[in-house]
């Protein structure tokens, strides 16, 4: 047992950024690394490295999804993996001049929703190689893949399909 009435917290050189004193406003930093599992959707992300787009097809009702989901929202049954075509059309689009902080340095960028022949739902992605005024609804686009995967959905993006 140690009773020491002269005990002191050590002082250090770290300080706090103060934005204002009345009211007292300070900078508070917060950061976190998640251990994030793609779980039942993992195959989609792995397949991007093989230059494949994997969607889901309902085993029971046949509904075809352009994004993965292990169970069908129409009937609740299990789905199976389904290889999507790599060519589609612009269903709608925008060009973002601002964004959330993480993507600000990438602006302006185009977002599109892609429709694929014979698929019941859409796929959201980036479109590069075209300006706002070049893009139109119905525009043919094709998927391209990053060489060095980031293991996220940006491993696939779309460019204008000029072969059409």
């Amino acid at each position: 047992m140690t009773i020491n009435p002269n005990a002191k917290l050590p002082e250090d050189e770290s300080g706090t950024i103060v934005f204002s004193t009345d009211p007292l406003v300070i900078k508070y930093h917060y950061e976190i690394d998640y251990i994030h599992s793609y779980a039942q959707d993992s195959e989609f992300f792995r397949a991007l490295g093989k230059h494949k787009l994997m969607g889901s097809k309902c085993k029971k009702c046949g509904y075809v999804y352009a994004t993965p989901r292990a169970h069908c929202m129409m009937c609740g049954s299990e789905t199976e993996w389904y290889e999507l075509p790599l060519k589609g059309k612009v269903h709608t689009f925008t060009t973002c001049y601002f964004s959330g902080e993480e993507f600000l340095n990438e602006t302006p960028f185009n977002l599109i929703m892609v429709e694929f022949e014979g698929v019941n739902s859409l796929f959201m992605s980036r479109l590069i190689g075209a300006d706002t005024e070049d893009i139109y609804i119905g525009m043919p686009v094709k998927a391209k893949f990053r060489r060095n995967q980031k293991m996220n959905v940006t491993d696939v993006y779309f460019v204008p399909d000029v072969d059409k």
Binding site: Y97, F98, S99, L122
Partner: protein
């Protein structure tokens, strides 16, 4: 058979002035101000209150988990029952409905619904990032997570599908910012023109800075009561006639291409060949309206309702919502504003308060703010609370409030009625 439960009345409301940043008050004090305003207006004491519902959207913004209990504690409501409700942009609307359920079920005779958000804890771009975390973080967020981008894509498709124009969207901005000039609680009152809206910096094509609501700090409080309790408290309660709630897929890309759920004033022939909802319409908004209309026996919305406060986070979404609510048919939303129908002096005033675009959108407070403004409109006490009766809708007997999350993932519709 479904039980309707007990009748529910709103007896008091309070709102703090919404502002971009007000660091002089934390969320507890901000709610306390709105709470005291409501309590004093109705002459209530803490002993009258049986419990509460807390409404706030993002733990990221508050930088505090369990912020709800801190408000409960600060207001002097512990150890009474309470819970937190969260559903993105519709948090306030959902919390108001949860308060309704406390009364309707007979669990409580008087309940406080309080909502707040302190968005100024981070800069605007970080705030946009937090909001975008309310989109699918595996499939949507990493592409450029930005809600204005998602809404812009919906607007582009609405324009393609129905011929809606950017000028029609701009008119919504002109109307709502103009109305807010007479609302002392509003964050961004402005007299602007269609040209001003179009010349403002482009945020996400075709939406400019003036097509989009801003970040806000704010709080709002609504007090609900059973019939006996309500008439004990005030001679002028407002009946919460009916509630409706709809949902839709988190990912915009998963929305189906099916048929329109019809309202009583529509027929299948109105929508031949229209693939619904796709990404042009909010199916959750339509389902919420359908449920609320059925309970309130509303068969002709534009004639059965006198005014509306709806969730106009974007000018385009106000136009889309005219259609979801059946104020006009799908595809006629642009024409609806061209004809001046939602103007303050029009057929059915929409967002006389200025809406989210101009009054502000401190997320957890927003849906409750709508209830408070609607309550004052139906009580015919706008002059008392705004110190200006310009925005008082003269014939206000029955109103609709509409709260909306995500790209239309949760939507609430609540019908309120003047008692006399």
């Amino acid at each position: 058979m479904k039980s309707k439960g007990r009748d529910v009345y709103m007896v008091a409301g309070g709102v703090t002035k919404f502002s971009k940043a007000s660091p002089d008050m934390d969320f507890r004090l901000r709610v306390k101000k709105a709470f005291d305003y409501a309590m004093n207006d109705a002459g209530l004491t803490l002993a009258d209150i049986d419990g509460s519902v807390a409404s706030y959207f993002s733990d990221h913004f508050q930088r505090q988990l369990m912020a709800g209990i801190m408000v409960q504690d600060y207001l002097g409501l512990v150890p009474k029952p309470s819970k937190r409700i969260e559903g993105g942009g519709a948090t306030g609307g959902l919390a108001f409905q949860a308060g309704y359920e406390e009364i309707a079920s007979g669990r409580m005779d008087a309940v406080v619904v309080y909502g707040f958000e302190t968005m100024s804890h981070v800069n605007t771009w970080k705030g946009n990032e937090f909001i975008a975390l309310a989109s699918d973080t595996n499939f949507d967020y990493p592409i450029g997570g930005f809600y204005t981008g998602y809404y812009a894509m919906m607007a582009v498709r609405h324009m393609h599908e129905f011929g809606t124009t950017v000028e029609q969207m701009a008119k919504v901005s002109v109307k709502n910012h103009g109305n807010a000039i007479h609302n002392p609680y509003a964050q961004s009152p402005m007299k602007i023109t269609v040209e001003d809206v179009r010349k403002a910096p482009m945020v996400s094509y075709p939406l400019t800075r003036l097509d989009v609501c801003a970040m806000s700090d704010g709080a709002a409080v609504a007090i609900l009561a059973s019939e006996d309790k309500a008439f004990e408290i005030t001679d002028h309660p407002v009946l919460v006639k009916a509630i409706g709630t709809g949902t839709d897929t988190m990912r915009l890309s998963d929305r189906p291409f099916g048929e329109v759920p019809l309202l009583p004033n529509e027929s299948p022939s109105d929508y031949k060949g229209l693939k619904y909802p796709g990404v042009h319409s909010f199916r959750a908004g339509r389902m919420a309206a359908k449920e609320a209309y059925e309970k309130a026996e509303i068969t002709d919305p534009i004639n059965d309702l006198d005014l509306i406060e709806l969730h106009d986070a974007y000018t385009s979404s106000e136009i889309q919502t005219y259609e979801d609510l059946g104020l006009c048919k799908y595809g006629e939303g642009g024409q609806f504003i061209d004809e001046g129908k939602p103007e303050l002096k029009g057929k059915i005033p929409v967002n006389p308060s200025g809406g989210l675009l101009a009054a502000g959108h401190p997320v957890g407070a927003t849906g409750i703010m709508q209830a408070v403004f609607m309550f004052w409109q139906l009580q015919h006490t706008i002059k008392k609370h705004f110190h200006d009766d310009y925005l008082q809708v003269p014939n206000a007997k029955r109103g609709l409030i509409h709260s909306h999350a995500g790209t239309g993932t949760y939507v609430t519709v609540t019908i309120m009625e003047a008692v006399k």
